[in-house]
């Protein structure tokens, strides 16, 4: 069984995995970081989005072994202690979530968008969310949250 090592939310971790173990399984089951969710089997829903070396990645599309040596950030690592990330705060302020299941993936995806496109238009936000499904909010307040979150990240 191969062993993998990576940095997750700033902490060095390692563990034995099967070759087929997905990154999301490693995070959820070995590290007990259950904020990253699994909503489908076909990489369509985006509930499992995390950052790998600073870019958003669907953790169900990547093997744990492929993340060997990488810097991984999950939703649990986004806030700085008690201080929420501006995107988290924006989702909270704008009612950008209901059941909360897709929310971690949405926020991780949104942070990546805002880093690459600090002032995204509504259309750009909606297009960016092609890979994230929400069944509760009708996206209306998610789009609003991301617009506000991106603005807050600009400072």
């Amino acid at each position: 069984m191969p062993s993998v090592s990576m940095t997750v939310n700033g902490k060095a971790v390692s563990g034995d995995v099967e070759g087929r173990t997905l990154l999301v399984e490693f995070l959820r089951e070995k590290l007990r970081l259950t904020g990253t969710h699994v909503g489908c089997d076909t990489s369509q829903c985006g509930a499992c989005v995390v950052h790998v070396d600073g870019e958003s990645v669907k953790a169900c599309t990547m093997l744990a072994a492929q993340a060997d040596g990488a810097e991984v950030m999950t939703i649990e690592g986004l806030a700085q202690g008690d201080k929420l990330h501006p995107m988290q705060e924006a989702f909270r302020e704008n009612h950008g979530l209901q059941c909360g299941f897709c929310t971690p993936g949405m926020i991780m995806s949104a942070v990546d968008l805002a880093r690459n496109n600090p002032d995204p238009s509504e259309k750009e936000i909606r297009d960016w969310l092609e890979g994230n499904i929400c069944r509760c909010t009708g996206y209306h307040n998610i789009v609003k949250s991301i617009k506000a979150g991106a603005e807050a990240m600009r400072g």
Partner: protein, 789 residues
């Protein structure tokens, strides 16, 4: 308290854990020594099981047990919670719904065997090794042919008919049709949908052999109902030996109401194996094991006089039950559908004829709106078609037939009595917000750009909070439909509320706390809402059918009244006044006409530290429970306006604007209510444009993953605009109605009416949902006749 009480858009108390990744969903729970179940499901729609060989699976690495139907022989099948009686007092046919298939499989996904192993992966690997000798049988897939020449899904229902039911005055309807000046006829389908809550279902069984107590962790909308159904009917164990706990639940939309086989499987398996057993659905499995929604084929006729006044309405509907009767399935096309056929109108005579049909497909049950979207869709579609045939404006024909504000309470010919409403008000607000009058100019502008533009309207009514229990019982419900709340005031004045409602995205931890804050003058951060655990809550019927605030909130309000009543007596004693002279205002008890007062917290402390206390008159403590059984349904209503633009070269529909004007009665948290409307709209628009559940002729589910079933994405929608008018409900203490399903009820006809309007130059009178680009392209490029081929 106006900044946080009833009517305030306070941000949600529950959000912090979700945005930090600290939500606790069932699959996040890990118990000591836990094992994992994988379920072997039928690949056939209909087949005999000749033999099951589990030996290879049992020998596979990590496997700790393999169970088949024989292991469940001592238990009952999954019960159906609603008995519908058909015409001539004919009871419905209720075939056994086994936990695991007994000798026959009846739909793709029917569970046949369960493999339990040390890890999820090992369980799945070993499940592949279970050898099942199937003998395929002809599959019954299409409802229309199922009743005529189909094979039988169940021996007990040789003609595949579950029930043949009707509601209404047949003679009055036939007489009205005879004297009508015009009859509009429309045949339509209400497409089958897959609910697709983002959290796949999950269940963990645990058994404590010392106490003899079972625990079931399950992603459910109503844990007490699951305890009742599984305890009493399946396992036949006393309720106090079964704890059902539903922690955070990632959406339900109806699909997590029902008692499913997997819940019984893990509960039984945990006892057999002596260790916890977890089953987590994957998405593909969810498509073939979660109950589906809708699936009606309908012919509707509307009879009118020459001025367009509705004289009578008649529908004939075939409703798909799928292969087995899911928990509430029989009630959906009957009592939750046909009773809504009056809509907002004064149609004097209505007849609904509904045949429920068994097919070799996944069971169908309530999905957001449950029967009411199907009623609104056929009604609002046939009205638009009638207006077109009569040369009338679609708004005017509706106005002419509205129930007027001074006609309430209004008894419809289909068994309901509406308490309040002002349909003209929501219509007027919607037309103004959508700039209905400016539409023709926008249509001309679109034409210049080569686009086809259309506008559509739909006026819906909903009946929320099924009630009262004695009426529901008379109609076949096998459970009461009240709700329960306990308000526990702690010695230092903080409050815990145990509610029988269940929140799976609706924000109850906030809105319910707002009700308490309003009633007791306590800050929101001093109030915790506890739900979802049968060991903590006295009882509860859960959350579905937009019942939570109208029934659960009303129970909570009544429990708060009891608290104030008792606390007033304690306060009167403390102030040496008569309780009749004490009033409760802004968190303090005051003696009228004096400056004497005592704070709520001091009264709470006195109740628990009863040193200066009227022990001969009152018990110590400050905790009250209320069970609330509503006198009637509540009746939210509204008008939705949809404007679309169609690209004729591709057939693609863009929703350029969508406006919703609703009347939900009094509103606790406008921000949360708007969010509920947005979500409902997205599901309704998804049904109208994108979502469809497709079976092939052999009963294989073709749309079985997110790659085949078109889930709505952010770019499919505009920003919605919403507003609300208020006519308060007259029979619950909060004056509230219900908002959760409205969006999904009113939006499909609004969208289809808009598309038909956009395509009117092509001779289009109707287009079935989903109105995909391919369908529209064929109409634009070949007309209706070509599209039908």
């Amino acid at each position: 308290m106006t900044d946080q009480g009833i009517g305030a858009s306070v941000r949600r108390k529950e959000d912090l854990r979700f945005i930090k990744g600290r939500g606790k969903y069932t699959d996040d729970i890990v118990l000591q020594d836990m094992s994992y179940a994988a379920i072997v499901r039928s690949p056939h729609a209909h087949a005999k099981i000749n033999r099951i060989d589990t030996s290879a699976a049992r020998a596979a690495p990590g496997v700790v047990g393999v169970l088949t139907a024989d292991d469940f022989a001592a238990f009952g099948g999954l019960p159906c919670g609603w008995q519908v009686t058909g015409k001539n007092e004919q009871p419905m046919i209720e075939p056994k719904h086994p936990i695991l298939a007994e000798g026959k499989v009846r739909h793709v996904g029917d569970p046949v065997a369960v493999v339990i192993a040390e890890s999820r992966a090992q369980a799945r690997d070993a499940a592949e090794l279970v050898e099942i000798d199937y003998e395929p049988l002809p599959a019954v897939v299409d409802m229309r042919s199922a009743l005529e020449d189909g094979a039988s899904v169940h021996d007990e229902a040789g003609d595949n008919l579950c029930y043949d039911w009707e509601l209404g005055d047949r003679e009055a309807v036939e007489a009205a049709f005879r004297k009508a000046d015009h009859v509009t006829t429309l045949e339509l389908i209400n497409n089958r949908l897959v609910p697709n809550a983002m959290e796949p279902r999950c269940a963990i069984g645990d058994f404590d052999d010392a106490s003899g107590e079972h625990t079931l962790y399950t992603s459910s909308q109503n844990p007490h109902v699951i305890r009742l159904l599984m305890g009493a009917f399946v396992l036949q164990i006393p309720e106090h030996k079964l704890r059902v706990y539903s922690p955070d639940v990632g959406g339900g939309f109806g699909s997590k109401i029902y008692h499913y086989a997997e819940e019984a499987i893990v509960t039984v398996a945990a006892k057999v194996l002596g260790r916890p057993v977890k089953w987590t659905s994957d998405r593909t499995e969810a498509f073939i094991s979660d109950a589906h929604g809708r699936d009606h084929v309908t012919k509707v006729e509307l009879a009118m006089d020459k001025e367009g006044r509705f004289l009578a309405l008649r529908e004939q509907t075939l409703a798909n039950m799928g292969a087995y009767l899911s928990t509430f399935a029989p009630s959906i096309p009957t009592y939750l559908h046909a009773t809504l056929l009056a809509g907002q109108y004064t149609t004097p005579a209505i007849l609904a004829e509904v045949k429920a049909v068994f097919t070799n497909t996944v069971p169908v049950d309530a999905y957001r709106g449950a029967g009411r979207p199907e009623a609104t869709y056929l009604l609002e579609r046939v009205i638009d078609l009638a207006a077109d045939e009569m040369g009338m404006d679609p708004v005017e024909i509706r106005r002419k037939n509205f129930i007027q504000p001074d006609q309430f309470p209004y008894a419809t010919p289909v068994a309901l009595t509406y308490d309040t409403g002002d349909y003209e008000a929501t219509l007027t607000a919607a037309l103004k917000a959508a700039d209905w009058d400016g539409f023709e100019a926008r249509r001309e502008e679109a034409k210049r750009k080569g686009k086809l533009r259309g506008i559509g309207i739909a006026c819906y009514i909903e009946a929320c909070g099924i009630a009262p229990s004695n009426i529901a019982g008379a109609l076949g419900a096998r459970a009461g439909l009240y709700e329960c709340a306990t308000v526990r005031v702690n010695p230092t004045g903080s409050i815990q509320v145990m509610t029988g409602s269940h929140s799976h995205g609706q924000g109850h931890e906030t809105t319910f706390a707002q009700v308490v804050a309003d009633r007791l003058g306590i800050g929101l951060d001093q109030i915790d809402i506890v739900h979802g655990d049968t060991n903590k809550i006295p009882f509860g019927m859960g959350t579905y059918g937009s019942r939570s605030i109208a029934v659960g909130g009303a129970a909570l309000s009544n429990a708060c009244d009891k608290i104030v009543n008792k606390a007033t007596k304690i306060a009167a004693h403390l102030m040496e006044a008569s309780a009749d002279d004490v009033v409760f205002e802004n968190g303090s008890f005051k003696v009228t006409g004096t400056d004497k007062q005592v704070a709520f917290g001091d009264v709470a402390l006195t109740a628990y530290v009863p040193h200066n206390y009227p022990l001969d008159e009152l018990e110590p403590g400050l905790e009250e429970t209320a069970f609330y059984d509503p006198k009637n349904f509540t009746f939210p209503a509204g008008t939705y306006v949809c404007e679309v633009e169609i690209e004729p070269q591709t057939g693609a529909v863009e929703i350029v604007s969508f406006h919703a004007s609703d009347d939900f009665g009094n509103v606790i948290n406008p921000m949360i209510v708007e969010g509920q409307v947005h979500g409902g709209l997205a599901q309704g628009i998804g049904q109208a444009l994108l979502e469809n559940t497709v079976y092939d002729n052999e009963g294989q589910l073709v749309s079985g993953t997110y790659m085949d079933y078109c889930m709505p994405r952010a770019y499919n929608f505009p920003n919605f605009t919403v507003d609300h008018q208020v006519t308060a409900c007259t029979h619950n203490p909060l004056g509230v109605k219900g908002c959760g399903e409205a969006g999904a009820i009113g939006s499909p006809p609004a969208v289809i009416n808009a598309i038909v309007d956009a395509l009117k130059d092509y001779g289009v009178s109707h287009i079935d949902m989903p109105a995909t680009p391919a369908k529209i392209w064929r109409i634009v490029n070949g007309g209706m006749a070509a599209a039908a081929e």
